[in-house]
């Protein structure tokens, strides 16, 4: 019910919204919770397990009950806390975990079955038969218990991530945080003030307390206005700091207000990584509920929440309120309610010595032990030394004291300590390097102490930062003594809730202790206490107090569970901002991409690159037709293929040759200028890392090529070898992969095609096999390499990237005129398998030079990376799986990469495994499938028939082991 008074709402701004299909009105500044309460809606959700009717418990981000689903369609968002959801025009919300409706929920039958559904019931009940667990029990339980659901559709909303740096990060903008920020800002520090609420002020917005002779909220507004004018201050409201990480890094989630996020391209949320030289945690405290029978009835909430709804939003949470507490705040709650004209029918103070100077029925040394009602609280039972008494009430304001919000101080392994005086855990100094605490989060519960602590924490940080302290004095404010009589759970029969969100009762925790789950971490997992969106913010301390009691230990000995990030829920969408769809794997296109698309070629991914699979011609209905044609084209005429994706590394310096000798197994210092050599490099453990050709353009200038996928790894490796092993060598590396567009021109007519383009024609004498050098193409300076990955007379021609598109189109047209054309990866693969050339399918990280038949390429005359390890016994044994060719000889002609090899008569089990197939292609040249693979002692078994078994597809093929070079073993075509 909305009452008179100013509060912090804008009555001039009426906002229409929906909850469960009904329309309501609220005001600017309302949350969904305050607006629903103003409309006398107390029932906002159903509980997780028992489907009990639930109302709002709190007025902050710790809310366990009032979770709703917002939005429609794909953007539907579940489990939004009504207490932090800003009301906006047209907001559509619905309650969760109920069927068919919130008022009439069939699943509330679970509540009647509660005796069978206690802690660990599913571990015990659904043991047998085992097969039913996955098929029946789990789906049924999952369906019955739970929170809201995602839409299941692709979320089209925008999310963002961002980085910020500052001298001082102040977390929380209550009295302590505001003064910490002001002190540091006046000293000239670069300050970020982060506040999860929509406005600064913290508890000052919810209380009637004065600061500096003004209402607290007014004082907070004035300080905020001063901060907002300073260039060295950034105020980030709606920003929850969710995690503390190494070296002053903090994670924070900013929720963008609805009117801004609706603008084109604006994000809904932004995940910040804030790097702060120093930080002050002024996160405040969270009020503890008290466990007693039926303490989960809608209308029962924390006293602090009742004051917040009253003072900030001008909402009376009931017409007839009972207040139950164990500190002076219970009395302040009564005073605030009475001042606002709300009837208070009882003040129940657990402290025996408490005095009351208010005009209200007062019960000292008493407690509330039961609550009546269903979908709304109707009465409470008060127990005193004299007996019990029933009191009518539609709202109970309860307080078990306050828990300092120590969470962030524990994110790097710190554990809080128990402070007996305030009956709560407080943070340990230095638990997060560079972070100090101030105010209620370190157990200072008076407003004045918070203000003083804010100044002091900032001064300390300024000292650390080497800045001169600013002269700020904490203003006059409330400075009461926090006098608490601890009450966690009121004894009695029936179910008393500790964890509202997970339906964990006092009984469940005691049951866990009985069943020997006595460690707090075990109890948590057995009962599920402290899980889900509120992460036990409301229940942890009371639950472990009950556990301590049940196990005969003290609270400090029982300890807390581990506090982990995030402090409040963070959407995966914001963590992954920018990495959705293509953002997850950016696309790299070659200069020939457009021309290739125009030819209708399907693309295949190679790392982030996109390369053509094949170039279909009219009438071709199957990729194999295109592939076979392209292979024949290269073998008989000329083909053109973009090979720009291969890594190109420029290696220069006086020691370039010597350096290459060290990274490659074979020698490169002996390579003549204008010549190319094939080489491969090993990892230091003796296995092959990568292969490729390296050209010597001049005495001190080499260009190395790497395989497409290994370009980054090889670059890093070269830098490693140079900087970490041989820094005395004068050599430098630069990746030039994207600077050059490079095309293979392969086939008997390759030279004819090139001579049609080159400003100075070439012949076998000027450009023999493995020659390289500069050429001029239409006046453009390029490079020409006579190398071949197809086994044909072939070249690779490179031009600066900006000429790539033009050159590719020209090459394609001229090739077509010669009866050739462009070819794709499928044909390239067949061509190289026919020649027994390796790719990373073969050099997959577990093979040695010896295994691929290139042991002789490891030079005996010099040291190189991996040489010592490659020579170890076991790395050069004949029985190793070594490379062979395979061709089908039986009835079945199919070969499959990944298929394993067995002796002809042996059973196809791993104990009999003889090797495996790495590459397969249909050779149009030979008219059958061919494969490369690895076979134990393979080179000695040429001619033997083995059996390929591929279990996934159920294929068995007899194949003959042969030399891996299937075609033109002498290499005459390459040289010709």
């Amino acid at each position: 019910m909305r009452i008179e008074g100013k509060g912090l709402i804008d009555r001039g701004q009426q906002i229409n919204f929906q909850f469960d299909g009904h329309s309501y009105q609220g005001f600017g500044g309302d949350t969904l919770a305050s607006a629903l309460l103003a409309n006398d809606i107390a029932l906002m959700g159903r509980s997780f397990k028992y489907h009990r009717p639930r109302g709002v418990l709190s007025a902050g981000s710790e809310e366990p009950n009032a979770l709703v689903t917002t939005g429609l369609g794909a953007a539907q968002e579940p489990n939004v806390r009504a207490t932090t959801l800003e009301l906006h025009e047209g907001l559509v919300t619905k309650s969760q975990n109920r069927w068919p409706s919130l008022g009439f929920d069939l699943m509330s039958l679970n509540d009647w079955a509660a005796p069978f559904l206690g802690a660990g019931f599913y571990y015990k009940t659904f043991m047998w038969p085992k097969a039913l667990w996955e098929k029946l029990y789990e789906p049924v339980i999952r369906n019955a218990a739970g929170l809201g659901a995602l839409s299941g559709k692709h979320n089209v909303e925008t999310y963002e991530k961002a980085y910020a740096h500052c001298d001082l990060l102040v977390i929380g903008a209550g009295p302590a945080g505001l003064l910490a920020a002001l002190t540091a800002a006046r000293a000239g520090a670069d300050v970020i003030l982060a506040e999860e609420d929509t406005r600064t002020g913290g508890r000052l917005n919810a209380e009637t307390l004065e600061v500096d002779g003004k209402p607290g909220a007014v004082w907070a507004e004035e300080i905020t206005a001063e901060l907002a004018q300073m260039d060295n201050v950034r105020i980030m409201t709606r920003t929850s700091v969710v995690g503390a990480y190494d070296q002053g890094t903090f994670g924070a989630l900013e929720k963008v207000p609805h009117d801004v996020s609706m603008r084109l391209g604006a994000p809904r949320e932004c995940f910040w990584r804030i790097v702060a030289k120093r930080a002050v945690l002024a996160a405040g405290a969270i009020e503890r509920p008290v466990a007693f029978r039926n303490n989960d009835r809608p209308g029962i909430m924390t006293a602090g929440a009742v004051r917040a709804y009253l003072n900030r939003w001008r909402v009376a949470t009931g017409r007839n309120v009972v207040v139950f507490g164990n500190t002076d705040e219970a009395h302040r709650t009564v005073a605030d309610l009475q001042d606002a004209g709300v009837h208070v029918s009882a003040l129940v103070d657990a402290r025996h010595h408490a005095k009351c100077d208010l005009d209200v029925p007062f019960y000292a040394g008493a407690e509330v032990c039961d609550a009546g009602g269903g979908k709304r609280l109707e009465s409470v039972t008060i127990r005193t030394a004299k007996g019990t008494e029933n009191v009518q009430a539609d709202c109970l304001a309860m307080s078990g004291g306050w828990n300092p919000t120590v969470n962030l101080t524990c994110h790097m392994g710190g554990r809080p300590t128990w402070d007996r005086d305030i009956a709560a855990f407080v943070p340990v100094d230095g638990a997060v390097p560079g972070l100090s605490t101030a105010g209620a989060c370190q157990g200072d519960f008076s407003t004045h102490k918070c203000l003083e602590a804010g100044v002091a924490a900032a001064q300390g940080a300024l000292d650390d930062l080497g800045l001169k302290r600013a002269d700020v004095v904490a203003p006059a404010a409330e400075d009461g003594v926090y006098d608490i009589y601890p009450v966690y759970a009121v004894p009695g029969k029936g179910r008393a809730w500790l964890d509202f969100q997970n339906d964990v009762t006092v009984k469940d925790v005691k049951q866990a202790a009985v069943e020997n789950f006595q460690s707090v971490e075990h109890m948590k997992r057995y009962t599920t206490q402290g899980m889900a969106t509120d992460q036990g913010k409301n229940s942890n301390v009371a639950a472990l107090a009950v556990l301590a009691d049940a196990t005969g230990r003290g609270i400090p000995e029982t300890g807390t569970t581990t506090y982990r990030p995030p402090y409040t829920p963070v959407s995966i969408a914001s963590l992954g901002a920018g990495a959705q769809c293509k953002g997850f794997a950016p696309e790299r296109f070659t200069t020939s991409h457009k021309a290739t698309q125009e030819k209708g070629a399907p693309f295949i991914e190679a790392g982030l690159w996109y390369r053509p699979s094949y170039f279909p011609k009219a009438g071709e209905t199957h990729w194999r037709q295109s592939c076979d044609r392209e292979v024949n084209m290269v073998r008989n005429a000329v083909g053109v293929c973009d090979v720009s994706t291969l890594g190109k590394i420029d290696v220069q310096g006086p020691d370039a040759g010597a350096f290459l000798d060290f990274v490659y197994t074979n020698a490169f210092s002996t390579l003549k200028v204008r010549r190319v050599r094939y080489g491969f490099m090993l990892r230091e453990d003796g296995h092959v890392m990568d292969d490729g050709t390296t050209a010597r353009l001049s005495e001190q200038h080499f260009v190395m090529t790497t395989t497409t996928a290994a370009a980054g790894q090889v670059m890093r490796h070269l830098e490693f070898v140079h900087q970490c092993l041989v820094p005395q060598m004068d050599v430098r590396f630069t990746s030039v992969t994207e600077q050059w567009a490079q095309f293979a021109v392969a086939g008997p007519q390759s030279r004819d095609l090139l001579n049609d383009l080159l400003d100075t024609p070439i012949d076998d004498e000027s450009w023999p096999f493995m020659a390289c050098g500069e050429v001029s193409i239409g006046g453009v300076k390029g490079r020409l390499f006579r190398i071949s990955f197809s086994g044909e007379h072939a070249y690779e021609v490179a031009v600066p990237s900006r000429y790539g598109d033009s050159l590719f189109r020209t090459l394609m047209t001229k090739a077509e005129a010669l009866g050739g054309g462009a070819y794709g990866m499928e044909a390239l693969n067949v061509l190289r398998i026919e020649k027994g050339f390796i790719t990373h399918a073969e050099i997959h990280g577990r093979v040695t030079a010896y295994d691929i038949g290139m042991g002789g390429m490891v030079s005996g005359k010099k040291d190189c990376i991996g040489k010592a390890s490659a020579a170890r016994p076991g790395m050069v044994e004949e029985s190793r799986e070594r490379m062979v060719g395979l061709k089908p000889v039986g009835e079945v002609k199919e070969l499959i990469a990944g298929g394993h090899l067995f002796d002809k008569g042996a059973e196809a089990v791993s104990a009999n495994d003889q090797g495996y197939i790495t590459s397969v292609g249909f050779s149009p040249t030979l008219g059958h499938n061919i494969a490369l693979g690895f076979l134990k002692d393979g080179p000695a078994r040429h001619g033997e028939v083995v059996r390929m078994v591929e279990h996934l597809n159920g294929v068995e093929t007899l194949c003959e082991v042969c030399h891996p070079v299937f075609f033109d073993a002498e290499g005459g075509r390459t040289r010709g």
Partner: protein, 89 residues
Amino acid sequence: MRITCPICGERDRREFYYQGAAVALDRPEADAEPEAWVDYVHVRDNPCGMTRDLWYHEHCGSWVVVTRNTATHEVIETALASDIKEQGA
């Protein structure tokens, strides 16, 4: 986590590639005993406390030796691997 690159200054760890223990700097002579090579290539300590390891700063291409505490995550010192190597440390 923040690592100070000797060339670029303090940077987020996402800019770095982690290699492993800085033992990799001390490559045995080519003719060293196989045991020395096995130690160099394969055998690593797993200390709780101080450790020296190699990180590659992908932005500038520097290999950096980072001295840090695996228990507290404190970064004590960073230096260019090439400087350490040339100083014979």
